[in-house]
């Protein structure tokens, strides 16, 4: 693949990852706002924190850009860069996991009840639905069945 084309594609993915990161931040903020406002129903993805893993793309792109302009520098610090890539990857995955668990525990600590029948399970993630009471949960399940 032509290097310039590769960089263009990577720029597209950079934008996509930043968009994902913004979306994840927005989701978390929305959930926290619902908790503060004591909303009846709170709905969020169980892997909402994993959007941060997308930062691996801009990180890799920085390495690619440095390699494009100064390949000697990459050769000199090759080991350091590879180790930092692995460490970054692990940190990002860890942060994603911690972030997702944190938001879930925040909702549960705010005395919300998990409404399993209204929650959706997908192959890639799970949509968690929490309600203030069992009655609201049952109403929600009934309304979803009507749809």
């Amino acid at each position: 693949m032509n290097k310039k084309l590769a960089h263009l594609i990577i720029i597209f993915f950079d934008l996509l990852c930043f968009l994902g990161l913004w979306f994840g931040y927005h989701e978390i903020q929305r959930t926290l706002m619902y908790i503060t406002n004591q909303a009846d129903i709170i709905e969020f993805g169980n892997r909402v924190g994993f959007f941060i893993v997308g930062l691996i793309v801009p990180f890799g792109h920085i390495i690619a850009i440095v390699e494009y302009f100064n390949p000697e520098l990459i050769k000199t610090y090759n080991r350091l860069l590879n180790y930092s890539t692995i460490v970054t990857f692990i940190i990002l995955f860890g942060s994603g996991f911690i972030g997702s668990s944190w938001i879930k525990s925040r909702v549960e600590n705010a005395d919300y009840i998990y409404c399993s029948n209204a929650s959706g399970v997908s192959a890639l993630a799970k949509t968690l639905v929490y309600t203030r009471s069992i009655d609201i949960c049952e109403e929600l399940v009934k309304s979803k069945r009507k749809i």
């Binding site: 594609i9 994902g20 979306f23 390699e67 990002l92």
Partner: protein, 333 residues
Amino acid sequence: MSVAEDLKLKLKNNQRTIYITDADDLLAAWRHRREKKSRSCRCFDFSRVPKEYRLSVPPNERAALMPCHVSVRCHRSHVTKTIKPAPEYSTNACHGHDRTVRLSTQDLDALAAVSFAKRNVAPYISPIMDTATLSLVCKDLGITGRAIPKVIKGRQYIAFSGYPGLRTRFPGTIYSANNRKIITMAIGALGIKNMVTKGGVLTICITVPLTILEVFLKDHHTGFQLFGNLAMELFKIGTAAIMGAIAGIAFGGAVTVAALPIFITIGVSVVVGIGLNALDKQYNLTERLASALEEFSNQITNAAKNGIDDAQLSTYRGLKGFIQGQTGYRGPF
């Protein structure tokens, strides 16, 4: 309204006999915790409830207080109480995050097992396989291993940096891009494509039967919902895999570090998958697809029914005209 009345009303609203049966002990536990004014306390069994507070005789000290538990929290001088639901509503929410529940096989019904497999097995298969490949690459090429794509006389090759003698899987210095070893180890564009395809196919092979099983085991599910779910699952898995592959191939062309494209492929697949799921949730795409399919089916059924009616009417009119023409009969039919 007193606390006890409030609590009893809450229990009554749940309309579950089991709650009402144990309500007295629950109240006792709750009162005990409230008087203790601990910041966060949970009562799971009778061992936490002092004898003077108990209103019934438990079978043993570790007998479950309730199908679930009561939480009392003191937050900024406010005492808040929570009655968590029974396990059939949610095991996790019911038993709190600090406590793991040991479930026996009898407790796990088929639907729970299928949902568990769909949620915890299917999405991780592909990343685990990719990580295994990544570890093999890192082990053989080393952490600083570089794979440099080269085009020689119109043919694509992958050249490795470092000492060939130290490598076990790649003892040569240069390999054709379509070499089986290169493809298996997910190096180069063809390797990434192969890795993503294998992962995607495996995920689909696990997800589709699990989705079908889940729909069969669940109540209130229609065939349209099954098709809608399946279509969306396949779309999400396919899109995530393709995006991951494109990102991996682009990185493979831009950097020479052998392991980085594999990292990127895994990362992008995960993020795109979660993003698609979030979009699905945001815009209710699966439900909309299912309802659109249902509507479409209804339209076809109605059209067919109307068509049959029209055909019957024209046959009737034809027969009527024939009889009137032949016999001269003008009476009612």
